[in-house]
């Protein structure tokens, strides 16, 4: 298994390298720069500023400098926030996104798997149809529709919950954004769980377990579920990507100080180093989660051998 992890980490390095390279040159191909202001800087000052950030060198040299920095774990200074480094910005804002995403995923996993199992056990009956109808709605209603509608109903009209703001992650402020992020995931997870469960419940080893006289709840939790959630585990990687996409919009709507909001603003302001830092963090996160989901997959399914 350690060899498997090692090999995957080795593959991750060229992937990250590709990400960094692509993002770097795309960002630099954009017209304009971080020091464009309404009033034109005098040429001397501009040259001085560029020299300070090493941006007076040819582009390939800057690229190599940046790579060297990344290899040392130094993501450079922000070009727009004068006295902050990229690492500081990440450190301040990343926890918000992380807390939001992790809560949403946890909630979605718990509810989604329960609903999926319920639907499978009551296959083709009212409960099943109900869950699947909800699942279809959840897939078809995007976050940027649910978020404002829920704010309108629960915050503006009824005043039960704050409609925006972070407030250091107070529970009341978390409810709406987490719900909005979790809804589509609940839909997909319950669908996947139901499909897996229906298939497994008809398999021979479940029939054997029944014949052995095991109580139903034991069959479901110990025997069936383990195999039924395999497709779900593979979904974990893409799901995270989905959460990230969703959180860009959710952080904007709820005015949360997470990374998503920063990303678009920084890209528009040509804050090269901040954008690069975020791309690297997200790419690394996705790679790590893909690896974790493969490992869980192998742990659950004895037929998969990691080599």
């Amino acid at each position: 298994m350690f060899r498997f992890i090692g090999r995957r980490l080795l593959v991750a390095i060229p992937t990250l390298f590709a990400v960094v390279t692509l993002a770097f040159f795309m960002m630099r191909a954009a017209p304009g720069g971080p020091f464009d202001t309404d009033r034109r800087l005098s040429p001397e000052i501009e040259a001085h500023v560029l020299a300070k950030y090493g941006m007076n060198k040819p582009l390939p040299d800057q690229y190599l400098d940046y790579l060297a920095g990344v290899a040392r774990g130094d993501l450079g200074p922000s070009l727009k926030y004068k006295d902050k480094s990229v690492l500081q910005i990440l450190k301040e804002n990343y926890p918000v996104s992380l807390k939001l995403g992790a809560s949403a995923m946890l909630l979605a996993g718990l509810i989604g798997v329960s609903l999926g199992v319920l639907a499978a056990l009551r296959q083709n009956r009212a409960a099943d149809h109900g869950v699947m109808a909800v699942a279809i709605l959840g897939v078809c209603i995007p976050t940027f529709v649910t978020a404002p509608l829920l704010v309108l109903a629960l915050a503006s009209k009824l005043g039960w919950l704050p409609g925006a703001g972070w407030n250091d992650g107070a529970l009341a402020n978390m409810v709406l954004p987490v719900t909005v992020l979790a809804l589509p995931q609940i839909a997909i997870i319950s669908r996947l769980t139901r499909a897996g469960m229906v298939e497994v419940l008809h398999s021979n080893y479940v029939r054997t377990a029944r014949a052995k006289g095991l109580p139903e709840h034991r069959i479901v939790t110990r025997h069936a579920l383990r195999a039924a959630i395999l497709p779900l585990v593979s979904y974990l990687g893409p799901a995270t990507a989905g959460l990230i996409t969703g959180s860009l919009v959710v952080e904007k709507i709820f005015n949360l100080p997470g990374l998503g909001k920063f990303f678009v603003v920084s890209a528009l302001q040509r804050d090269y180093t901040v954008v690069m830092g975020m791309v690297i963090v997200y790419a690394a996160l996705i790679l790590a989660l893909n690896l974790v989901s493969d490992l869980i997959h192998a742990a659950l399914d004895p037929r998969v051998r990691l080599a």
Binding site: T15, A18, I136, C140, V145, A241, L268, V279
Partner: protein
């Protein structure tokens, strides 16, 4: 069938069977009807509404639905919501269609060549897809839009270029099985080159799974465009798309909730019809999954 007795039954192709199963699926039929209506509305609707989508009416600011001939009300500039909604629907559907065609072209070509060539080339091409898969793609689309400014063509290309990955995997898998088939061997024996075999014999046989995936890609593309527009990076006002309208409605929802509710409803209707049709097609063409 047994009722036919001795008369030879008329042959049914796989596609006949699929059509029959599809038409029996009520959700899919409802989705097709809904999509038909929406497409019709997007095509002819804008020319039937007495207002232009960018026509500013100073006297009609924030008008509620059903007043002054504004069936769905008017926005902060007094622009007719119905006119904007119909144009926005047209734009979103067009983007969905064109970007899907882009992704279809890249995905099918890439997957068919990789699957048919096999060996090192296949390995290399699929490794590229793997790497691209693990990129945070929404960021790259955002970077693209920021880099080159938002124009229509770029939206098509950017989204299409993102969505082709899954298509190429599906196509490659199918091609791997197809190329073992006798008709491919026959074509080769007849002296056809690899390019001609791919174009004439492999690609037409990929139709089933590709059609299913296309119906699921279109809503994904519409969604992606809306995300971009919501972040202010997609279609630019005064042009409308469903995403632009929902984003605008979000800003004004306290004052004029109809600006949020109607575009959202249309968006959900579009996504739902495509998903119903896609699910129905999958069940119809590949009945194993049921």
């Amino acid at each position: 069938m047994s009722a036919l007795g001795l008369t030879a039954p008329k042959g049914r192709s796989l596609w006949d069977d699929a059509r029959r199963r599809l038409l029996k699926n009520r959700a899919a039929v409802a989705g097709m009807a809904m999509l038909g209506l929406l497409t019709l509305a997007a095509a002819v609707g804008p020319s039937l509404v007495p207002y232009g989508y960018d026509q500013v009416n100073k006297t009609d600011v924030w008008l509620a639905p059903l007043q002054h001939g504004h069936l769905l009300g008017a926005d902060a500039l007094g622009r007719d919501l119905l006119a904007r909604l119909l144009v926005g629907l047209r734009v979103s559907l067009a983007i969905g269609l064109v970007a899907t065609v882009v992704s279809l072209a890249i995905g099918v070509a890439w997957g068919a060549v990789a699957g048919f060539a096999g060996g090192r080339l296949d390995e290399a091409m699929m490794r590229i897809v793997d790497v691209l898969y693990s990129l945070p793609f929404i960021f790259f689309v955002i970077l693209l839009m920021v880099t080159f400014g938002s124009n229509f063509i770029l939206i098509f290309v950017a989204i299409g270029a993102v969505e082709w990955l899954t298509m190429s995997r599906i196509v490659r898998g199918q091609t791997l099985t197809l190329k073992q088939k006798e008709f491919v061997e026959a074509a080769r024996a007849a002296g056809l080159g690899p390019g001609a075999i791919i174009a004439r014999h492999i690609v037409p046989n990929l139709l089933g799974p590709v059609v299913v995936y296309v119906t699921l890609t279109i809503p994904a593309v519409i969604l992606a465009e809306s995300f971009l527009s919501f972040l202010g990076l997609g279609v630019q006002p005064p042009m409308a798309s469903l995403g632009v309208l929902i984003a605008g409605g979000t800003q004004d929802m306290e004052l004029a909730p109809w600006l949020l509710v109607f575009p959202s409803a249309v968006m959900v209707a579009v996504l739902m019809s495509f998903n119903f049709i896609g699910d129905g097609l999958r069940d119809a063409i590949d009945p194993r999954d049921r």
